[in-house]
């Protein structure tokens, strides 16, 4: 139903002016191009968007995790004064499903809902509250079905199928050597679980869709990948891609949670149906239902080694709960399958990584996707093995550390640099913090802090190590590229470089990095990075730690192309050999004899612009034995965590995290520190605090009161040592940096907890009841008479 009462004019939104900055060069710490508007409050986030005459959209979501829909009656909602449209799946003119990797998710559900919170209908109203009230007037007739809430159950033959393709979304099978004939002196086994983590970006989903009056639409949105959104919106609206224009709006954090669609199609549908701009904005509760989460995992491992500590084989069976729809589960399953053994040289391995559909909330990308889960398990196994061998856990890791020229279990040769042993050695050598006397300590430095519950009686200290790694960029044959346009002009007598890409700045600092590259390559002091939108070709996703590499390389190549043209002109006009030329402070300079010509004079009012599409070297899908050159770059980080635990109260204080990481090139050292520390905070959250509690397919804690994030009091000091070992294939030798810190910190912290308590702690987040042993990590009460290793030690 649509009722358009007024046909408003829909002027193009005026966007804030593009700031011109003078950034530092590559390798220098430099302030953010968006830093000033962010500290003054002027920076425009998608939630701040406003247009005269705009309507407010709202979404009706399923209260049931699994149900048949027999009917949807919108008539009462349509009659609510102030309502301009009520839309269901019947109003989706194009493809009725969407999805990043697999289009398996209804834009608006019909016949069946597969998770709690699945969108069913949309309304647009002149007031957000009217919109919400109208939702209540839509009556949906459900036949509630039993939800499938366990991935193992979903895998069974006799379990009903949630999708036509079955419940198995993906299976990665990696065979390396022969685990059956491998003989080991020492064998350790373990079962590990990772809970469902939320990205919990602080700025909830929001966007504004503006119809262009000619059948097309402009969408201002906070997202991680404009073009994949654009393509999905166009498909479902039945429009040509160029009729749908996306503009990146201010993004309040992402961490993977904005890679899938939220209201992109919905808001555009409403805008086109009403002929009015439509704003949609989720609140925090809706945000928990409106984006995918980190996959929960159950992982079974067996490690075999020789008596002197050389790995002989690893067997791993990994089961991931993908939830109701595919999202980026394929990539998560691949990452987990390929990284399951950790950064170690192991001659024999058998890995089975399973991804299942269930009626739980859909899971997808989150910082470190797939690698986070297996790192928790393989690092726990390495500690267990060290204990069984009576070896130092760091020594064991160094002894088995993978190095360039070795083969990963998935068959790819390890490219240089891969300094796993060096990272661990340096980490081990970093000074330990001084141990402060427990008695007389400031409460803030005790587990439990100012709640004043412990006075130190049961407090023990523990130290744990972990090393993690992950691919950078998109893998397994994906056509991973980025596009950059760089234009050199003269404005107000001064040379200016404009850089245009569609790379999504989500807070990580890509805009600043693009500006640094332009300044470095073109020797011009004034740089303007234009707003990201779909008027230029794709930059790919802001995910998989790939933007600095791929978009960085595209910007660098475009700058080089512009520079070549400048030098060609200098040769033409001044007879200078381009080989001896450079550009410094806006002047073309010849080696040995100074300024040849200022750019302002050379250009004489003209512009030089170059558009470059950059692709990294190709990757290949795995074969049926899980073998192939699947990944383009690997990034490594090692961490040491020191914790203090009150064993009687189950309270934890992380005293310090130390880290070593190879970043290839520290592009903006201060920003790098922020990335690493922020990544560690999220790993700490997964270790100790963060889990979406899902019972029978229903989220129990969709708020920041009940879903706990690390505060400043939870975050310890971080010591870091950065290695810059250049990757010869990457721009400036850089490596992606965002994900490795999150991967390594969870297992390091839990290892420290095990060291302090002697308990197995095979599930994250570790809760106080696991530490004190009230319940076992998988909810099992401890065996009667079992005192636990901690008690024995005491």
């Amino acid at each position: 139903m649509t009722r358009a009462e007024t046909i408003p004019t829909t002027p193009t939104r005026e966007r804030p002016e593009t700031p011109v900055s003078t950034p530092g060069r590559v390798g220098e710490s430099t302030t953010r191009a968006d830093g000033v508007p962010k500290v003054t409050g002027e920076f425009e986030y998608s939630s701040d968007l406003w247009m005269d005459g705009m309507l407010y959209g709202a979404t009706l979501r399923s209260p049931h995790p699994h149900a048949n829909i027999w009917s949807v009656d919108t008539s009462e909602a349509e009659a609510v004064p102030g309502i301009f449209a009520v839309l269901t799946h019947e109003d989706v003119p194009g493809r009725k499903v969407c999805g990043m990797e697999v289009p398996d998710q209804p834009v608006l559900a019909w016949e069946r809902v597969r998770y709690q919170g699945e969108p069913i209908a949309l309304v647009a109203a002149d007031h957000p509250e009217t919109a919400r009230r109208a939702l209540e007037k839509i009556s949906v007739e459900y036949e509630v079905l039993d939800p499938i809430t366990d991935a193992e159950e979903a895998m069974r033959e006799d379990t009903p199928k949630l999708h036509l393709s079955g419940n198995l979304l993906r299976h990665i099978h990696v065979v390396h050597g022969d685990v059956d004939t491998a003989e080991a002196d020492v064998v350790v086994e373990g079962e590990y679980e990772v809970g469902m983590q939320d990205q919990a970006f602080l700025g909830p989903e929001s966007g504004l869709a503006v119809p262009d009056g000619r059948g097309g639409v402009d969408l201002y949105i906070s997202t991680q990948w404009l073009h994949i959104d654009r393509d999905q919106v166009a498909e479902s609206l039945g429009l040509e891609p160029d009729q749908v224009r996306l503009h990146l709006s201010g993004v309040g954090g992402a961490f993977g949670g904005r890679e899938d669609l939220s209201m992109q199609i919905h808001s555009c549908l409403l805008a086109l149906h009403t002929g009015r701009p439509v704003k949609m904005m989720y609140n925090r509760e809706e945000s928990f239902y409106g984006h995918v989460h980190r996959h929960p995992a159950r992982m079974r491992y067996e490690h075999g080694a020789t008596r002197d500590g050389k790995l002989v084989y690893i067997k791993a069976r990994l089961v991931f709960d993908g939830g109701a729809y595919a999202s980026s589960s394929n990539a998560v399953c691949l990452n987990a399958g390929t990284f399951a053994c950790g950064p170690y040289d192991v001659p024999n391995a058998l890995v089975d990584s399973y991804m299942l559909y269930t009626n739980n909330p859909p899971c997808g990308a989150m910082r470190g996707f797939g690698a986070v889960q297996v790192c928790f398990a393989h690092e726990a196994q390495m500690d267990k093995l060290a204990k069984a061998l009576g070896m130092d856990p760091v020594e064991l890791r160094i002894k088995n550390a993978i190095k360039p020229g070795d083969r990963f279990p998935f068959g790819q040769e390890v490219p240089p640099p891969a300094p796993v042993a060096e990272l661990l050695e340096r980490l081990k050598a970093m000074p330990m913090p001084e141990e402060e006397d427990i008695t007389g300590r400031d409460l803030r430095r005790l587990p439990g802090g100012v709640s004043n519950v412990t006075h130190g009686e049961g407090v023990r200290r523990g130290v744990g190590y972990a090393v993690g790694y992950k691919n950078v960029g998109f893998s397994a044959g994906f056509d991973d590229y980025s596009t950059a346009k760089v234009t050199l002009s003269v404005e107000g007598g001064e040379p200016l470089v404009r850089v245009h890409t569609a790379a999504a700045e989500v807070g990580q600092g890509i805009v600043t990095l693009e500006a640094q590259i332009a300044r470095t390559e073109l020797g011009v002091n004034k740089i303007a990075v234009l707003p990201a939108d779909t008027s230029i070709d794709s930059a790919g996703s802001t995910s998989a730690s790939r933007q600095s590499y791929v978009t960085g390389a595209a910007v660098k190549a475009a700058c080089e192309a512009v520079r070549e043209k400048v030098f060609a002109r200098v040769r033409e006009e001044f007879g200078e050999d381009p080989d001896g030329l450079s550009i410094e402070d806006g002047n073309v300079v010849a080696e040995g004899h100074g300024i040849v010509v200022p750019l302002a004079e050379l250009l004489d009012g003209e512009e030089i612009g170059e558009l470059v599409k950059y692709r990294h070297k190709p990757t290949y899908p795995l074969d049926e034995n899980g073998q192939g050159d699947a990944h383009v770059q690997f990034a490594f980080a090692a961490q040491r965590a020191i914790v203090e635990v009150d064993e009687e109260l189950g309270l934890v204080r992380v005293v310090e995290v130390a880290t070593t990481q190879d970043v290839g090139k520290a592009m903006n050292p201060q920003a790098l520190e922020g990335q690493i520390e922020g990544g560690i905070a999220q790993g700490l959250g997964l270790a100790l605090l963060e889990e979406i509690q899902v019972k029978e397919g229903r989220i129990q804690n969709a708020s920041f009161t009940d879903y706990l994030l690390p505060t400043i009091l939870d975050m310890p000091p971080v010591k870091m040592e950065i290695l810059e070992l250049a990757d010869p294939d990457a721009p400036y030798g850089l490596k992606g940096v965002g994900e490795p810190p999150t991967i390594a910190s969870t297992p390091a912290i839990v290892a420290a907890l095990r060291d302090a308590t002697g308990r197995e702690l095979n599930r994250v987040p570790v809760k106080p009841e696991h530490i004190v042993g009230i319940s076992g990590p998988t909810g099992q009460p401890p065996q009667p008479g079992s005192r636990g290793p901690a008690a024995e030690r005491a």
Binding site: T31, R32, D34, G35, V36, K38, V39, T40, G41, E42, F43, E44, Y45, S47, D48, W50, E129, A200, F201, L202, G203, P204, G250, V251, G252, G253, A254, F255, N283, R284, D442, R444, R445, V450, V506, G507, Q508, G509, Q670, A671, E673, G674, Q675, I676, E677, G678, G679, I680, A681, Q682, S703, F704, T705, L709, T711, I712, L713, M715, P717, V718
Partner: protein, 149 residues
Amino acid sequence: MSSADVKLQINGQAYTVNTEPRKLLSDVIREECGLTGTHVGCEHGVCGACTVLLDGRPARSCLVFAIQCEGMPITTIEAMAQDGKLTTLQQALHEEHGLQCGFCTPGILITLDSYLAENPHPSEDEIREALSGNLCRCTGYRNIIRAER
């Protein structure tokens, strides 16, 4: 839904807003007064992004109704920089990368600015305590502490 005229003093300027008495201060500041530097992250007083000064003290604008704030001066992030010049604290947060996405930043600045006015030389423990009610998901907080020091 009966509305009323609510008179507010925000950043030294008088606003008369015709709104429902149950409308939150945060929503009135953002939607009626157009001051969108005050951010709403959780809507129930946990994240601290919506912190403003209410009668000179930091308060979560998502936990009070606008109508309760009549007669109390309100200060938002927009009033912090004077004539386009950043305060020392704003400058420090900018220079030390004490922000990434920046969504939490206005709340952190309002909270810290007010704290530092009363405690000009805090220890690191004291800064941490002062900021313990402000969530930041990007930075891990270290650069925020560095900025302050």
